[in-house]
């Protein structure tokens, strides 16, 4: 009898704090209040970014709605958490970060154009807009009014940024991990210059000498908050480690109805000297959450989002009473509540700074519920002033070319039924050279972004792919917009892509866009963007399954990584496709490899994918949820219009681990050999035969 068994099961159930009328306690009320705070527009936009960001990025919640659909199609797949525990010991090699009293804000010699004429105006503007944004539950009005987009006055510069075509940067016989725009490096878990390989796994940074294939130094990062999300940027003998902010990644954590919190979450960036083994030489701590970073030459642009530190009363009473109380607090808030604070530690000395109010700009419309700040660092001179600029705006997705940086947000994505309400806001910054960025203006288009790959700056145009309409409804469809990069005004649009479907992948290659949408079948759309005023859908290819990552293989060929699916949309394993797109009107699939033994896992993190043009090698991860088995990589070779399977490659498991849930996380070509990095170590293999040349275990 099921009832009988249930009674037995029940008798062995440990009791929990939530069993005894927990819902009637203040603790439950606090949890519900926290839910409402999190439902705020910017925090949900953040959630959207996280769910939209593809991949197995460690420490980030990776859950796409469609993964869900896919999972429900599988036979009751119960996923199993990784059975590995961090083996790192936490003995701080560094004195930590000390706080010293505030120093006066640094005033730069040359003032950049700002939309405010005085600090008093800055404060007045922030208060007014914030009061209009706040509601009874917190930082959003009870009835949102539409945000009207407008272009802020431009700073007089009219630079055209002819973005380079997105081809793989291949220097000699060593690859980087995959990046969106060549010459614009992204923080990642692995970096190499051919001579040394630097990895971060399980919170430990290691340097590997690629000639002797030995670990030459390591650094435990686990005593720093946010180590789970640690990534690095490297230039020469210097490196910058980005750490996540607060564990949950929400940047609205500073609002509480308790005693005045300090200043909300802070994010830490470590300065490393690699010359004599990795050594921390200093750090930057800045208010808010880390969004993303880019490295161009030796110049790092760090993008942060911070919330004003204002303790809203969030008290009892009617909505109107609470809104009024919240507004009253905002109208009295000092300017320092909004201005992001940061501190620089160099050696033993820590100095605190505040972003000066003359470095604060704003779009024509803004909520004043969050601030975006760009810090600029030179890897060769870490520790000097990071020259921050702030814009009173919301943002979560960062995209950059070598000359322009864009921050986008979906401020209203939460309200999926109001199709017209879904808008993407875009803020553009000039990042030419190594100086302070210049805020150029903002614009907006309807719909939601999939990821940073939805954005592309090319020949003076910003191209954006969005999906609008409620998920799963017939109103859902996708569009490609072309904006004049200088004015952020729409010059052209192609709409109606994938009715009732959402974008799974988008890739801009020169003047052409490739878009994949999926519900049951996978249309691959080819859109000609030569004429910014008249983009045109020129080709469509209907297939089963879908691709969620597209990569240029040159010579009119396109690689698609995704899932095979039945005609009813049920996914059935990893699929790699090779498309011939040399005739845009007639895209063809010329080759396909399906691994039905590979489960339909979360979608691909572009950083985990490798295409190596000199030999046509494709290395892409294959997940496995089986205990005792490590995630592998599938190695293929593009030859002409064919795909040849080289094989599956797994890294050995570490002696101390039962399994290594994530398996191989990154693959690179270093001095013409294949290097695969997992939590257990680095394997060096012959890329043609996959025979092992070396195994460098992490202890």
């Amino acid at each position: 009898m099921v009832e009988n068994m249930s009674r037995w099961l029940r008798s062995v159930r440990p009791s929990t704090a939530s069993d005894e009328d927990w819902i009637a306690t203040p603790a439950a009320a606090e949890q519900l209040a926290a839910v409402h705070r999190r439902i705020g527009p910017a925090s949900t936009a953040k959630e959207q970014r996280r769910s939209a960001a593809p991949g197995w990025v460690r420490g980030r919640v990776v859950r796409k709605p469609r993964v869900w659909l896919a999972a429900s199609g599988l036979a009751c797949a119960v996923t199993i958490a990784a059975l590995i525990s961090s083996g790192g010991t936490a003995t701080p090699p560094h004195g930590g970060i000390t706080e010293t009293p505030h120093l006066p804000a640094i005033r730069p010699a040359a003032l950049l154009l700002s939309n405010y004429s005085s600090c008093a105006d800055v404060l007045a503007g922030l208060r007014t807009h914030a009061a209009a944004s706040v509601g009874s539950y917190g930082w959003w009005p009870d009835k949102r009014t539409d945000i009207r987009f407008g272009i802020a006055p431009l700073a007089g510069r009219q630079q055209l940024s002819a973005g380079p075509a997105a081809t793989s940067a291949a220097a000699g016989d060593t690859s980087t991990t995959n990046v969106q725009e060549s010459g614009v490096d992204e923080p990642d878990l692995v970096k190499t210059d051919g001579g040394r390989l630097i990895t971060i796994t399980d919170g430990v940074l290691r340097m590997v000498d690629t000639a002797s294939r030995a670990i030459t130094g390591s650094l435990d990062l686990t005593m720093y908050q946010g180590w789970q999300n640690a990534q690095l940027l490297v230039g020469g003998d210097h490196a910058l480690v980005t750490l996540g902010g607060s564990n949950n990644g929400y940047n609205y954590g500073s609002f509480s109805n308790g005693p005045a919190a300090a200043s909300g979450p802070r994010s830490t960036y470590l300065f490393l000297d690699l010359a004599g083994g990795p050594k921390i030489t200093g750090s930057l701590r800045a208010a808010g959450s880390y969004l993303d970073a880019r490295l161009i030459g030796s110049t790092v642009r760090l993008v942060m989002s911070s919330a004003p530190s204002i303790n809203l009363p969030l008290g009892a009473g009617s909505n109107a009473t609470r809104s009024a109380a919240n507004q009253a607090v905002i109208r009295q808030a000092p300017l320092s509540a909004w201005l992001p604070q940061y501190s620089i530690t160099s050696g033993q000395n820590t100095t605190d700074y505040t972003v000066p109010c003359d470095q604060v700009s704003h779009p024509a419309a803004y909520t004043a519920a969050s601030m975006l700040t760009i810090y600029t660092l030179d890897l060769n001179h870490l520790g000097v002033s990071p020259k921050p600029v702030s814009v009173a705006a919301d943002g979560d997705t960062v995209y950059a070319t070598s000359t322009s940086l864009y921050i986008a947000s979906n401020p209203n994505w939460c309200c999926a039924t109001a199709a017209k309400a879904q808008q993407t806001e875009i803020h553009r910054f000039d990042i030419t050279g190594s100086g302070q960025p210049t805020y150029l203006g903002s614009g907006g288009i309807p719909g939601r972004l999939l990821s940073r790959y939805s954005l592309s700056d090319y020949a003076g145009s910003l191209r954006i792919a969005t999906t609008a309409g409620a998920g799963g409804s017939a109103t859902q469809s996708s569009s490609l917009y072309i904006l004049d990069a200088n004015t952020l005004k729409v010059t052209g649009r192609v709409g109606g892509l994938g009715k009732d479907e959402q974008i799974y992948a988008v890739r801009f290659i020169g003047p052409v866009a490739y878009v994949v949408t999926f519900r049951r079948t996978d249309p691959l759309y080819v859109v000609d963007l030569h004429d910014p005023a008249a983009p045109m859908l020129v080709g469509t290819l209907q297939l089963t399954g879908y691709s969620d990552y597209l990569h240029d293989a040159g010579s009119g060929r396109l690689i698609g990584i995704g899932q095979q699916a039945s005609k009813t949309g049920r996914v059935s394993g990893l699929q790699v496709s090779l498309f011939d797109v040399s005739k845009p009107a007639q895209p063809l699939r010329t080759a396909q490899v399906v691994r039905s033994d590979a489960p339909g896992g979360p979608s691909l993190d572009p950083h985990a994918f490798l295409y190596w043009p000199p030999t046509g090698l494709i290395v892409t991860p294959v997940q496995s949820w089986r205990p005792g088995q490590s995630g592998k990589v599938l190695v293929l070779k593009v030859s002409g219009t064919k795909l040849n399977t080289v094989g599956l490659l797994a890294n050995p498991l570490a002696a101390h681990s039962i399994d290594d849930g994530l398996g191989i996380q990154r693959s690179l070509i270093v001095n013409a050999t294949l290097w695969t990095v997992s939590g257990s170590g680095v394997q060096v293999s012959d890329p043609a035969t996959l025979s092992r040349q070396a195994w460098i275990p992490f202890d």
Binding site: L32, G59, A71, I84, F149, A419, I445
Partner: protein
């Protein structure tokens, strides 16, 4: 098929899209929270530390808010499914193992009744030897008052697939109990018999 629109974007952005349903959705979330949050929290507290449990609990309801039109009503199975996935992702990201067995062992340590002690110890020790999928299906079935449909929904599978999985998990737990010497009239022995149905 090709749609070209120039200069019509303003109208679309500044149209009449009023989010009148925002307050309604919040009310629905409040209602669901009051009815189901305690059970979801219990699930999380059985598997992770209280801080993470609270974080994930909040995420579950924030997610429910974002997808309110897609969440079935009653939403219990969906809420559990979301909690499971959010927690699994988090554990995976932080490279941690779920703490279910540790919780059970703690609970054994606090048990003063000798029969209950033996039963709980037998359960914790044998459950630890089963695949995580079996643990999940057994505890979801017995601990949170989910209907079979809701448990299936939480696991992301059909009711029949859930039935098969539960049947196998019951058999494996019963086998494990017997293999560990829990037989006959002892509480754990009776438990094994009940599992065989």
């Amino acid at each position: 098929m090709t749609v070209r629109i120039n200069g019509e974007i303003d109208g679309e952005i500044n149209g009449e899209g009023k989010r009148v349903d925002d307050a309604e959705r919040r009310a629905v979330i409040d209602e669901w929270f009051r009815a189901y949050a305690a059970r979801v929290l219990a699930y999380l507290l059985h598997r992770t530390d209280p801080q993470t449990a609270q974080d994930v609990l909040q995420e579950v309801f924030v997610t429910a808010f974002g997808k309110a039109d897609q969440v079935p009503d009653p939403p219990l199975g969906w809420l559990f499914g979301t909690a499971r996935r959010l927690l699994a992702n988090r554990l995976r990201g932080f490279r941690r193992h779920d703490q279910l067995i540790a919780r059970l062992m703690d609970d054994v340590g606090e048990e003063s009744d000798p029969d209950a002690y033996e039963l709980k110890q037998a359960f914790a020790q044998t459950l630890a030897t089963l695949p995580a999928a079996d643990r999940e299906v057994l505890t979801l079935t017995g601990w949170y008052d989910l209907t079979p449909m809701q448990a299936a929904e939480a696991l992301g599978c059909t009711a029949s697939a859930y039935g098969v999985r539960l049947h196998r998990a019951r058999k494996r737990l019963a086998d494990a109990l017997e293999a560990a010497g829990y037989r006959g009239a002892t509480p754990a022995g009776q438990f094994a018999e009940a599992l065989r149905g």
